[in-house]
Amino acid sequence: MSELIFERNSRSDVTRLPALTTDEKTLLSKLPAAVLRKSTPALPTVSELDVVRHFTNLSRKNFNVDSNFYPLGSCTMKYNPKVLDTIASMTPYAHSHPYQDESECQGALKVLFETQRFLSEVAGMDEFTLQPAAGAHGELTGLLIAHAYHRAKGRTKTKVLIPDSAHGTNPATAALCGYEVVTVKTDANGHVDLADLRSKLDAGVAAFMMTNPSTLGLFEEDILEIAKAVHAVQGLVYYDGANMNALLGICRPGDMGFDIVHINLHKTFAVPHGSGGPGSGPVGVKKELIPFLPSPRIMKDGDKYRLEDAAQSIGKLRTFYGNFGAIIRSYAYIKALGREGLREVSEHAILNANYLLAKLKDTFDVPYSHRCMHEFVMSARRQKKRGVRALDIAKRLLDYGIHAPTVYFPLIVEEAMMVEPTETESKETLDEFVRVLLEIDKEITENPQKVLDAPHTMPVSRIDEVRAAREPNLRWKKKSPPKAVESNDPVHTR
């Protein structure tokens, strides 16, 4: 059974810290007795060896890109170059403080400024803010900018339009900005229904949030028309950059007419996912929106970098300047790839996805086109008729050492499986994936229970999520009172 670190007991070495040179009593006398802590937090009491074993063994239970193929649609699980981790840990970067005077941190400011410029180039925008810590944070920033812009223009805007295929963060963000959400339909070909969009556009629309390619992996060919229609009612077009991996060096959201974009550095620009974070979600804007950017902006005068607040800034979304440790990874990544390397990323992302689509379309339903960009959506509808669902296929893939594609998203496709191989995978890995899926499909006919009971080789199988939600157990609690702390500690009187 999996042991919690609290269930282990060995010697916790306090000599890992320097000794005190003043006695405790004197020190504590500097604080009023009333503010002193009387309880002892039940933190683990273990040796360094036990800590190392515990977390090392935990890590080995995880699927991860370094070990497994992860064709998770919309996540861009590409290889995370190790040199980027080394660069982010370099002493001058890891040990600099955001409140150092400008003259004392020109290196860090240069990294931020040049990253802003690189992203502006790649996305076709005029300036970027690197403050947002994640994609959803970027969306909030972008909509707040839109809100401030419209308010400055004296416009009454109450609505945001969002496609029905959109990621959940989009409507959640709009609500946070006080906007009403209106959904725009996707047509039978998997594109934004232009007629439906037009019917919903009026003077009250602040923005249309969308992505291109769409969440179905299809390029929105009408994008120029869409942008024009939204601009005609003085709305802004917002680009959700989750699918940027399809466009590098091929085309740019700024050129399509987008006014605001966010980019996910932990997707397109190789920042590792870190088991859930941290990422980074920089936001790019066109010229007219620059005054509203979060503060401070990073500027350059001659060869000196400096900070300056935006003229009508929306304020701040977080402390300091952004997730520097993530940003510098993307900066180095872009420098390593260069102009041609960036284009190659998207070419191979698109090539790999189309190859998989061609190989899988006879076994799985593909509700839309048989050409895609960097990802595609297939349906396990046919398999469901034989008694096995997308979820079960996802679990069975784990037994083959392959992480499942994204399942049940987008909501408009039944038994959806969204596949995004990324550009860093080889044809051999893709062929293996196809072979495994075909094998599982055969198994659905010949031995469906094997799939329904999967996974068989993981530490756990078919977790009881109902119980987890009905009887939430969200932290460990010590059963008996804590042992008295063994030190000459006048605060602990019992």
Binding site: S12, F55, K61, S67, Y93, P98, G315, G341, K427, E465
Partner: protein, 444 residues
């Protein structure tokens, strides 16, 4: 450097299998006008070239590894044990994905569960989420939660709150029907009487930063009482290392406790990534933003961990979600769990005592220097505000000459405070650092 795995031959075979003659056919639907541009980005670099380039840029930076850093203001130069990065940077943690597929992520999920437990123990609160972006945005989310939970509009912020935290709360609330009022300070701490007058029955929450931005330890119970009296929620924003010695928010009546987790095992890294911790008691559990890991069993009865209470989250509730947050700062939270595991309760206490010791020693030495005076005599933990009556340019020159970074000039936030400085002193400051600091100030 490229990182592509396909060979030229692979590319050829794949195009054939797809049924096209060239790659361009795959993007022919993209309007030609959109493809007509050149990226103004230099050619790519090899790995050694990249390292040299980033190394050169790094040399344009001063940093705390070869300077003595007295900078604080929300993030601090604590010592990060080697084991922390060694474990957290394992590929199995750093390149794994969000643990949506529970069976493939038991390592992450158990680590998150353990992190949640440790944060609850530290803060004395009942439940914690899996972490958020940083202390400031966690505070803003707490304000949003308070407004939603109470149906009231007013948030009372202390004047002694970190200026950037104030800005973030204002930005988050800027589009909503909400009101922010600032409770004034007297002698660098909250004025209790004036606070009570501002906390009305229309107040959703009162916020306290402990210790406050100026390092002063506030009267938390007075704030708690004022909130309770008016039926408002009490949000405490606390320094986690201080909780090794100071009473935790769960014991002085906080309804929500948040804060910046960076001091727990995360490098300063020019301001990020760090993480915000977010804790509540039972009454607010169903309204908590962000991800949460829970313990349950699998179909064979084995102990298992899983993301739970997801019905609140953006990917399900969409516009009715408790927040729009998607990521947590998992790796940063993991570092704090490893760090706290290495310290244990005794280590945490020793750590806090060392901070207290070093800060008070530095304080006393500085006050003995001509031209330096304390701005307040109120109690402090590891950060304090002083006035140094010396020409700022000469002072800075003298400090840099002794390889000292900081202290933080408060005029950065409050232009009228021309000679006020915030001095942060952690367990990572040595006797040698102290001598260099004192000498630099004396000499200026």
């Amino acid at each position: 450097m490229r990182y592509i795995s396909n060979t030229d031959n692979d590319r050829k075979e794949m195009l054939e299998a797809i049924g096209v003659r060239s790659f361009e056919e795959l993007i022919e639907k993209i309007p030609a006008s959109l493809q007509n541009f050149q990226l103004d980005i230099p050619a790519g670099l090899s790995e050694p070239e990249l390292m040299h380039d980033l190394g050169a840029t790094g040399r344009m930076n001063k940093h705390a590894a070869d300077h003595a850093s007295y900078l604080g203001g929300g993030v601090y130069d604590h010592y990060v044990p080697t084991v922390v990065s060694h474990l957290a940077h394992r590929g199995e943690f750093i390149t794994s994905y969000t643990p949506y597929q529970g069976e493939a992520s038991q390592g992450t999920l158990q680590a998150v569960y353990e992190y949640q437990t440790m944060i609850c123990e530290l803060t004395g609160m009942e439940f914690s989420n899996a972490s958020m972006y940083d202390g400031a945005s966690s505070l803003a989310e707490a304000a949003l939660l308070a407004i939603r939970a109470t149906g009231k509009r007013r948030i009372v912020l202390p004047a002694t709150l970190h200026p950037e935290y104030k800005a973030v709360v204002r930005t988050y609330l800027s589009c909503l029907d909400a009101e922010i009022v600032e409770a004034p300070a007297v002698d660098w701490a909250l004025d209790g009487k004036k606070l009570a007058a501002l906390v009305t029955s229309e107040t959703a929450a009162v916020v306290l930063q402990q210790p406050n931005f100026f390092g002063v330890i506030e009267d938390a119970r007075a704030v708690s009482d004022a909130a309770k009296k008016a039926g408002a929620l009490f949000i405490a924003c606390v320094n986690p290392v201080s909780l090794g010695l100071l009473e935790p928010p769960g014991e002085y009546g906080a309804d929500i406790a948040v804060g910046e987790g960076q001091p727990l095992g995360n490098p300063v890294s020019f301001g990020g990534p760090h993480f915000g911790f977010f804790t509540v008691n039972e009454e607010l559990l169903r309204k908590i933003p962000g991800r949460i890991a829970g313990m349950t069993v699998d179909k064979a009865g084995r102990r298992s961990f899983v993301l739970t209470l997801q019905a609140r989250e953006q990917h399900i509730r969409r516009e009715k979600a408790t927040s729009n947050i998607c990521t947590n700062h998992s790796l940063c939270a993991l570092k704090s769990a490893i760090y706290l595991s290495l310290l244990g309760p005794e280590g945490l206490r020793r750590l806090a005592l060392l901070n207290l010791q070093n800060a008070h020693e530095t304080h006393d030495r500085l006050l003995a220097v001509k031209g330096v005076r304390a701005l307040t005599t109120r109690p402090f933990f590891n950060e304090f505000a002083i006035e140094i009556d010396k020409d700022p340019v000469k002072l800075k020159e003298s400090l840099l000459k002794n390889r000292v970074l900081g202290p933080l000039a408060l005029r950065r936030f409050f232009p009228e405070m021309k000679n006020a400085y915030l001095v942060a002193v952690t367990e990572n400051r040595t006797k040698d650092h102290l001598e260099r600091l004192v000498e630099a100030v004396e000499r200026a």
